[in-house]
């Protein structure tokens, strides 16, 4: 990237005191709907619940637009808006503010979140119309948007991490929205727990980064002393005994700009000191090692573990397919458009750190591409329409990580943008299908819906084009750019070993994945929208938005489809759905509402179709942002826009235009091949080939259909040992720890008893002995006092006689 070669200066900050309004509005909406939402719903009706939520979203979007306008008006290099509210904590070198910042990257994210978020809110009006706890849904949605906005707008790691955890909480609440169904509650918990694993890695990486920035800077052997660089005054605290241990803020002056050095949580400060060569921080970080591993590799990989959890990469992707238990708008909002892209955003945000470690880059790209192909293969054989989309999401996230992994940060971010549009379209279209088919999710019971739901079908097709990668929709531009950049990236390392083959290998795998993507997406399109309608045998008894419908699907299909009678896996006992009241009520009331239509699928209401059309249009229009340089002669608009926010220097190999055209052709060809085979096999649902193939390779089919038994492996390798460990610890607690505690209790009682005895017999004995002696003495002496005058006189006489006698005796 040419722009990165030039000398980078510090970030120019423009204050924008209104940025806090963007996250504030959804927060207010969440607060109102969660505190008094139930009253609003009872008193004024559901209309007011969604009016508040959507109103707040719209306001937030408008403020975001205002910020966008301001950002656009600034010179390209100075697009950085900041809004510091107050200092939240200062402890030693750790100090962070409640502050928001918008640079081109976070601006893009904010626009995606608020725009698509608003549309999904509108969609939910139609989709959740029959939901009894309507207010709760909108409160959660707003809460989610609030947390997501904090995540992307945070000026420092602390605010970002708050958002990071906040979206985790909101997704837990939303996935387990129908919490009376144990499977859905479990899915929510699964998402939460798996995310915790990732967060653990993320926070470790954060600690490590903070620590490494504050380490002792030893001057390197080759004369470039960190203490003092000619032309650069490196100022340490002169009063400190050891200048390396100064605790005050350290500054470097580079080309007249003062740059704060040392540990920081602030993105801008971090970026400035790392990116600007003269400070020496970048070099310091690049050469630091911990346990023989380059520190930046460790930081990069640990932070990527966080991204793996949040963005559903191998092996932490398992929560995302199960998260389809949530209502479909949730799937669209959280699992397609916004939350899962948080990891990609984080890697792009820290691009300059990742660029320092070719190993970490390689790691990110490898995990990304493996996830992409792994999830794509699972997507081949799923029958649940939402499962297909879920695995497709995982796969596309893999693509994004390939993008940010190979150093094409803008391409990864662009894929994030296009994916947000087309995947939201796909999810919402599938939601529309599910709604139209009365909560049927099995694609084998759909078919032919194109005639009945034309708008849904067309939007689904447009989004399918986009995801498959045809030049008339957006996915092509981002995916092609990612694959091209992967191919030309030759400087990545595989665990410290230079690996120029890694880029092309990733490209090849990615291309294969693109073919697969095209195939399974068109498969889902044809199974759903063409051929004869195969449903209508009655309302699905099972409310199928649950994580184990893949297990349950063969079970209830047996009746309608005799040729499918071999269950690849008998429905396990826990998949028998005990339907609790809200879910059942939900189905029943939906039934009544659509009663006039009988069991015939029907097009969804306007609030649904309008959103679908908007999003599908968006999915096509965002291609404008990424028209490649090869076509237009200048950098893609989005690359130009994002450049100031992605200051990492990554070099790519150069190839001729012919090669680039060829690679673009290969991308389209892969998509076309996938489309062709999908059309051949699934159009009109007449072909017997899929069925025959399935029986030919039944073993493979079973393994893939059951998602490579990853969930089972997790269960055997992680959950069972964890439970075993827990029960062992419980036993240990009850027997060993309690025994020790009881022993000490007994010991204490024993010592106390001894002490008691000493007190009782020795101390009290002494005290009582003195008392008794006095008393007994007194009793004895009392005899003398008779009270008779003559007795005393005898005494006196005897005494005086004695004195006289003594007087005689001792003269």
């Amino acid at each position: 990237m040419e722009h990165a070669i030039q000398q980078l200066g510090p970030t120019v900050v423009h204050q924008a005191g209104y940025l806090w309004l963007i996250p504030l509005f959804p927060a207010i909406g969440a607060l109102i709907n969660s505190l008094v939402g139930i009253r609003i719903q009872r008193t004024f009706g559901k209309r007011w619940n969604h009016a508040i939520a959507i109103g707040m979203m719209t306001l937030s979007f408008l403020v975001a637009l205002r910020a966008f306008a301001q950002l656009l008006a600034l010179p390209a290099g100075e697009r950085f808006l900041q809004n510091t509210l107050w200092n939240m904590m200062t402890a030693g070198q750790l100090s962070f503010d409640l502050a928001f910042a918008l640079d081109p990257l976070s601006m893009m994210m904010v626009l995606i979140i608020t725009f698509i978020g608003t549309l999904i809110h509108v969609f939910s009006v139609g989709y959740m119309a029959d939901e009894p706890s309507y207010w709760r849904f909108f409160a959660y949605l707003n809460l989610f948007i609030f947390a997501m906005l904090l995540l992307v707008m945070g000026d420092n790691f602390a605010v970002m991490f708050f958002g990071w955890e906040g979206v985790g909480l909101a997704s837990y609440l939303l996935i387990a929205f129908w919490y009376t169904d144990i499977e859905k509650a479990k899915a929510g918990m699964k998402a939460f727990v798996v995310n915790r694993f990732g967060d653990f890695g993320f926070i470790l990486g954060l600690f490590l980064l903070f620590w490494s920035l504050g380490g002792i800077w030893e001057p390197r052997a080759d004369a470039r002393s960190v203490n003092y660089v000619p032309g650069i005054g490196y100022k340490a605290d002169p009063t400190a005994l050891n200048p390396y241990e100064s605790t005050g803020p350290r500054n470097a002056i580079v080309h007249g700009h003062t740059i704060k050095l040392g540990p920081t949580l602030n993105f801008r400060e971090l970026r400035d000191q790392v990116v600007i060569e003269g400070t020496g921080v970048g070099e310091h970080l690049r050469h630091q090692k911990l346990w023989g591993i380059a520190l930046m590799t460790l930081v990069g990989i640990l932070m990527f573990v966080g991204a793996m959890g949040k963005s559903a990469q191998l092996p932490l992707y398992v929560w995302l397919p199960d998260a389809m238990a949530g209502p479909t708008p949730v799937s669209a909002l959280i699992h397609a458009a916004t939350m899962v892209t948080a990891g990609v955003y984080m890697v792009a945000r820290l691009s300059y750190l990742y660029a320092m470690s070719p190993t970490a880059m390689g790691w990110v790209a490898i995990v990304g591409v493996l996830t992409a192909i792994f999830a794509a293969t699972i997507g081949f054989f799923q029958y649940d329409i939402k499962k297909v989309l879920a695995y497709s999401t995982v796969s596309q996230l893999g693509f994004m990580f390939v993008g940010v992994g190979v150093g094409a940060y803008w391409a990864g971010s662009y894929h994030l943008l296009t994916h947000a549009f087309f995947k939201a379209t796909l999810f919402l279209a599938s939601g529309s299908v599910i709604l139209g088919c009365h909560h049927e999710q099995d694609m084998r019971r759909m078919g032919g819906l194109k005639k009945l739901m034309p708008v849904t079908a067309w939007t689904y097709l447009v989004a399918t084009w986009a995801i498959a990668g045809f030049p008339w929709a957006s996915g092509f531009y981002s995916k092609d750019e990612i694959l091209w950049k992967a191919f030309t990236q030759r400087s990545m390392e595989f665990f410290g070993t230079p690996a120029p083959w890694l880029g092309p290998a990733i490209f090849a795998t990615g291309l294969l994945t693109a073919l697969g993507t095209s195939f399974y997406m068109f498969r889902s399109y044809y199974m759903t929208f063409t051929g004869p309608y195969k449903g209508g045998a009655g309302h699905a008894e099972e409310h199928d938005e649950d994580p184990h419908s893949a297990h349950a699907a063969p079970h209830h299909v047996t009746a309608g489809h005799p040729h499918d009678d071999e269950d690849p896996k008998p429905a396990p006992a826990h998949a028998i759905h005990a339907h609790a009241v809200p879910a059942a009520a939900h189905v029943a009331s939906g039934h009544d509402d659509h009663g006039a239509h009988g069991h015939v699928p029907h097009e969804s209401p306007l609030s649904v179709t309008a959103v679908l059309v908007t999003l599908a249009t968006g999915a096509v229009l965002v291609s404008i942002l990424g028209i490649p340089k090869l076509w237009s002669g200048h950098d893609p608009i989005l690359e130009h826009w994002l450049a100031p926010a992605l200051p990492a220097e990554v070099t790519f190999a150069h190839f001729g235009h012919a090669t680039e055209w060829l690679f673009q052709g290969m991308g389209v060809a892969a998509a076309a091949i996938g489309w062709y085979f999908a059309m051949l096999l699934f159009k009109d649902g007449k072909s017997r080939v899929p069925h025959d193939l399935k029986h030919r390779f039944f073993g493979v089919w079973t393994v893939v259909y059951n998602k490579y038994y990853v969930d089972e492996a997790y269960h055997a390798l992680i959950i069972r040992p964890a439970l075993f460990l827990a029960s062992f610890l419980s036993w240990f607690d009850q027997h060993v720890i309690d025994w020790i505690v009881n022993f000490f209790g007994w010991l204490a009682r024993f010592i106390a008893a001894i002490d008691d005895a000493i007190d009782k017999y020795v101390v009290d004995g002494a005290v009582n002995g003195v008392g008794g002696l006095t008393r007994e003495g007194g009793r004895l002496l009392r005899r003398i006092e008779t009270g008779r005058i003559q007795t005393y006189l005898y005494g006196a006489a005897l005494g005086s006689l004695l004195v006289v006698l003594l007087n005689f005796l001792f003269r």
Binding site: R782, E785, T786, G787, Q790, Y794
Partner: protein
């Protein structure tokens, strides 16, 4: 036989012994008082005798006169106490007046 100091002292000692014996042995409070009078007068005899044989002048006699007056006063107080004892205990046996013991 000319009386000497020793004769006087012997008489006084006998008188004192008789008084002391009376005080120590009698139960009757009035008798005790009378014993006390005897002892006082034994002391008086000693004072006069010493004055006559040893000191000279009038000091001993004067002292004796004072003791007589004091004895009268003592008898008056003592009898008043006896009367009070009688009022309280309906007897003048000194053994009855033992309220001061425990």
């Amino acid at each position: 036989m000319v009386p000497t100091l020793s004769h006087f002292l012997a008489v006084a000692a006998l008188l004192f012994a008789a008084g002391l014996f009376t005080v120590l042995t009698r139960r009757n409070a009035v008798a005790i008082l009378m014993g006390v009078e005897l002892m006082l007068n034994a002391a008086n005899l000693n004072l006069v005798a010493f004055n006559r044989y040893v000191v000279g002048g009038m000091a001993g006699q004067t002292f004796a006169l004072f003791v007589v007056v004091l004895a009268a006063a003592e008898a008056a107080v003592g009898l008043a106490i006896v009367l009070s004892i009688f009022h309280t205990f309906k007897t003048i046996d000194v053994r009855a007046a033992d309220l001061m013991r425990e």
